[in-house]
């Protein structure tokens, strides 16, 4: 992880600030207020104490733009005269509170667990105090010394700031580069200042803006109840207090001061919120109602397109045999409201899964495997939806099925197992509750019947003490156990197709083998089929009947597992195999495992021609044209490479050395058109060292 550079951070903040109209308006308002207030003696039409007895309690007039108070003093003049003091003393709270909170947080993060516990205890106590009452007692002791009172308020508020910053300071403190700096002999203070503080900068600024707003409100509140600056001196709170005495006869007086105070607080909040907005929050797994409406439109569009195709007679709507999944020309894209479709993440994916067979979707991270798998259940993350093609299942096109109709498919016909079993289970409910509720819903059973079924399901997935596990919460069981529970949960609706998204990746090696053999046994016993997403060719060899190799959002090669593993035709498949320590037999193990230079291109950067060309050792000028998926010379599979046959005849292997792209052809326009990735960018194909 790169060290969060100061420059990068400020650039980001600046961008986020300017990106938010509210924050820009807030900045302008605060700047205008400060300038107007500081220059007030130069331009204000009246002195703050000038009393105009001809216009007492007046509304806005040409002479008094914002009206006058009960002594005929000009409200506009008093507001601006009070502004500098209000903003300045609020800054005292900010500096004391945020400064102390940040220092405490860095101290707690850097100085070990005992210091952290001690500081945290003290701040907990501080947070559970009635702050306002204590501040009033302080005023009793020190009088209405506003700067001092605001500083003490800052101390009281530092506890909350400490709580906000601590977590981030701790995570920065535990970064590897901080460990490296420690080894290099940098002291705790140096680490805090050089490595932790810059990373906290944004949070600190956000907190400062929010505390500034709170400080202003509290200061005004104190002035309102009579603990403001000494009497003739104007303060916003005091002016509102004065106005409240005349709410019966001059309600207008409330408006200007209240509006200015509210606008100023609003400005500070807007700046803080704009800076504090998480840059890319994860998408919810259950889209909001607005997003669901958007999704429904996309589904309707696909349905309409399919109907049109049917009417013109060129649709391939052969529903297929019962229990066969046929994905035809599926594409998935980012929703882009207004301007049609956004970036495509998956394009033209087709495959079939026969009943009782296992299909492996293989490829590096970011190739669209998971998106393809999730679209089978209509569970794409918020903001992403299927944009075309068909997912044919029991005579139905699931890509064009509305969400409410998908409810009868999910769990009952197609089920899902995810990568992280611990996170896939609800931490707030017992395993027993989650299983029985699912069984009752999917199978329409009664409570006790479902309970018995849950017990037998757990035994079926190899859990010996099912009775005990039913009573536990997910955090009380191991990862392997949790994955068995997740499998049981997936089985509870007796599905015909199981979508397994890297079901063994997060597990220990021994547990991986157990879960795989469990899945193999389930396929054999129940006759269900499985779509298995994985990047582990060992898993593929172990369990899959068919393989579809995906690269950059489309299938580059598919066919029977044995054919693909023994006779790979696509260079990407060749590379994956060459990079896999398990695919190479011990006797023929090369001295050095192959790598695939560069990275999977981002969806927006996909070229029109072969998407693998930029990383391919065999790429040539022919690879600049779009490449169709054609029957492979090996077996009954398909391959998307113009050179597949040539490679097969010449028996070329993916070389383990850093070979420049295009070694097959002398000089290729591809390698000059797409610059060679720097050697340090080389990434070994994502691999379990299992």
């Amino acid at each position: 992880m790169p060290r969060p550079g100061r420059a990068a951070l400020t650039r980001l903040s600046r961008h986020r600030l300017l990106g938010s109209p509210g924050a820009v308006a807030g900045l302008v308002w605060l700047a205008a207020l400060v300038i107007a207030s500081l220059t007030a003696p130069l331009w204000l039409p009246f002195k703050t104490e000038d009393q105009d007895f001809t216009a007492v309690l007046s509304g806005p007039t040409a002479a008094h733009w914002l009206g006058t108070d009960e002594l005929g003093r000009d409200i506009l003049s008093r507001i601006f005269a009070a502004a500098a003091g209000t903003l300045g003393t609020s800054m005292i709270t900010v500096i004391v509170g945020v400064g102390l909170g940040t220092i405490l947080a860095m101290l707690a993060a850097g100085a070990g667990e005992r210091t952290e516990t001690a500081i945290s205890r003290v701040t907990e106590v501080m947070m559970s105090l009635p702050g306002t009452v204590i501040i009033l007692a302080v005023i009793g002791a020190v009088g209405t010394n506003i700067p001092l009172v605001m500083a003490i308020l800052g101390i009281l508020m530092s506890a909350g700031i400490y709580r906000v910053i601590l977590g981030q300071a701790k995570s920065l403190q535990s970064q590897l580069y901080v460990d490296a700096a420690k080894v290099d002999g940098l002291g705790p203070l140096g680490i805090s200042v050089r490595h932790v503080l810059p990373g906290l900068a944004n949070t600190v600024v956000v907190q400062a803006a929010l505390i500034f707003a709170v400080g202003m409100l509290i200061q005004a509140g104190l002035a309102f109840i009579g603990f403001g600056p000494p009497i003739p001196q104007p303060s916003w709170g005091g002016m509102i207090q004065g106005a409240s005495q005349h709410v019966y006869d001059a309600p207008w007086m409330m408006v200007p001061t209240g509006a200015v105070l509210a606008l100023t607080v609003l400005s500070a909040n807007a700046i803080g919120n704009a800076l504090g907005k998480a840059p890319n929050a994860a998408a919810p797994h259950l889209p909001s109602a607005a997003d669901r409406r958007q999704r429904a439109k996309a589904v309707a569009a696909i349905a309409a397109a399919a109907r049109d195709a049917e009417e013109t007679g060129d649709a391939g709507t052969d529903a297929g045999a019962k229990g066969t999944l046929s994905v035809r020309n599926l594409s998935v894209g980012v929703d882009n409201a207004g301007t049609g479709t956004g970036v495509q993440l998956v394009t033209g994916v087709s495959f079939d899964v026969e009943p009782g067979t296992v299909l492996g979707l293989v490829g590096e991270s970011g190739c669209g495997k998971t998106m393809t798998a999730l679209s089978l259940l209509g569970l794409l993350p918020s903001g992403v939806s299927a944009t075309g093609g068909q997912i044919l299942w029991n005579g139905r096109n699931l890509a064009a099925t509305p969400d409410k109709d998908m409810q009868s498919v999910r769990g009952r016909e197609i089920a899902l197992i995810s990568q992280e079993p611990m996170r896939a289970l609800d931490p707030m409910f017992t395993v027993g509750y989650q299983l029985t509720a699912t069984i009752r819903r999917l199978r329409g059973m009664g409570r006790s019947e479902a309970r018995a079924e849950a017990h037998s399901l757990l035994e079926k997935v190899g859990i010996v003490d099912a009775g005990r596990i039913l009573k536990t919460y997910p955090h009380q069981i191991s990862g392997g156990m949790a994955q068995r529970v997740a499998v049981a949960l997936a089985l509870s609706g007796r599905p015909k197709l199981l979508v397994a998204d890297e079901p063994t990746t997060a597990l220990d090696v021994t547990v991986q083998a157990e879960i795989l053999s469990l899945l193999r046994a389930l396929v054999k016993d129940t006759g269900m089929s499985v779509v298995m997403v994985t990047h582990d060719l060992g898993v593929v060899a172990d369990i899959c009947d068919q393989v579809a190799v995906m690269y950059a959002g489309h299938v580059v090669e598919n066919g029977r597992t044995a054919a693909i593993l023994d006779n790979p035709r696509h260079p990407y498949t060749l590379a994956l195999l060459a990079a896999d320590p398990h695919a190479n037999h011990a006797d023929s193990m090369p001295e050095r495992l192959a790598t695939i230079s560069g990275q999977v291109p981002q969806p927006k950067d996909w070229p029109a021609g072969c998407r693998f060309a930029a990383r391919c050792q065999f790429a040539g000028s022919a690879c600049l044209e779009p490449v169709p998926l054609l029957p492979s010379s090996a077996g009954d599979g398909l391959v998307r490479c113009v050179k597949a046959d040539q490679l097969a005849i010449e028996g070329m292997d993916w070389l383990a050395t850093d070979v420049p792209a295009g070694r097959l052809l002398p000089v290729s326009p591809v390698s000059s058109a797409t610059p060679e990735p720097a050697p340090e960018q080389d990434s070994i194909v994502e691999k379990d060292l299992a």
Binding site: V125, S128, L129, P130, T132, V133, I134, L136, A137, G140, A141, G143, A213, L217, A220, G221, F224, I225, G226, I240, A243, S244, V247, G258, L261, A262, L263, V265, P284, H285, L286, S288, A289, A290, D291, R293, L377, L379, Q407, S408, R410, G411, R412, A415, L416, S418, E420, R423, A424, L425, D426, M428, F429, R441, L442, Y473, H475, A490, S492, G493
Partner: protein
Amino acid sequence: MALFVAKRLLMALATVLVVAVLAFLLVHAMPGSPGAVSLGAGASQDAIDQLNRQLGWNDPLVSQFARWLGDAAQGNLGVSLIDGRSITADLANRLPVTASLAAGATILSAVLGVALGVTAAVRGGLLDRAIGGFVGLLVALPAFWVGIIFVYLFAVQSSVFPATGYVPFEVSPQDWALSLALPVITLAVGGAAFIARQTRASMLEALQQEHIRTLRATATPTWKILYVHALRYASLPIVAGIALQFIGLFGGSVIAEQLFAMPGLGQAVQTSVSTHDAPAVQGVVVIATVVVVAVNLVLELATKFLDPKLRAS
């Protein structure tokens, strides 16, 4: 769990003790001796010194604090320097006012805030943005200003509610409720806005959890995912936020009591601070701390009880 409760109780006790010391020291730093405050401006120095001796003002601080603590433990917080009334009795009369105010405001804030926050998170789109803007405005409005506007709208323009004053529950439950309405709503405006933000963020966080996808994959109805599973997951930070709001609203009642002329603790702090009534300040600070710490303790235990990880251990 029992150990946890015991630990928290000890912490709460320690907090109150620390505040008691703090209040004692603050009161001693107040300008003017108790004799001078009690006898007023015209008193002779001899009379002041005599009264100070009587009150033990010249004794060592430690023994003064020990005496105060001993008395306080027996429920005696001393007498007011201004009018000689029993501070314990006075605060006992005032506590119900502030308690009903703060409790009412907290409950109303929680109900409104959770409803708004959940709606924003669940509905999304335009409604989410509208609620976000509305809530942002409410957060920025000072409570005392809102209060005056309410007085203007509901008490001056249309006399739906009494503008000021407090009617004890024993006298007339209906008038009690009416007299509380405006101050409670005033305090709840800001409180609801804060809780709405907290709720929205917590709900979105909950909906990003992977188990939500598992629930969808097993055909769980949307309402159940939202209101049983996601809300349950989000309940921990929401309740913690409500606990924090209670502290804030309890303090905020100082302003509401001043604004609506309610004889509560807040008014007592304000008058006793203005008149330098040392024992009264000390008493009210300690009592306010006891209430806040106690309520906080209960809500914290409730949060922990909501968390299966902590409940099981």
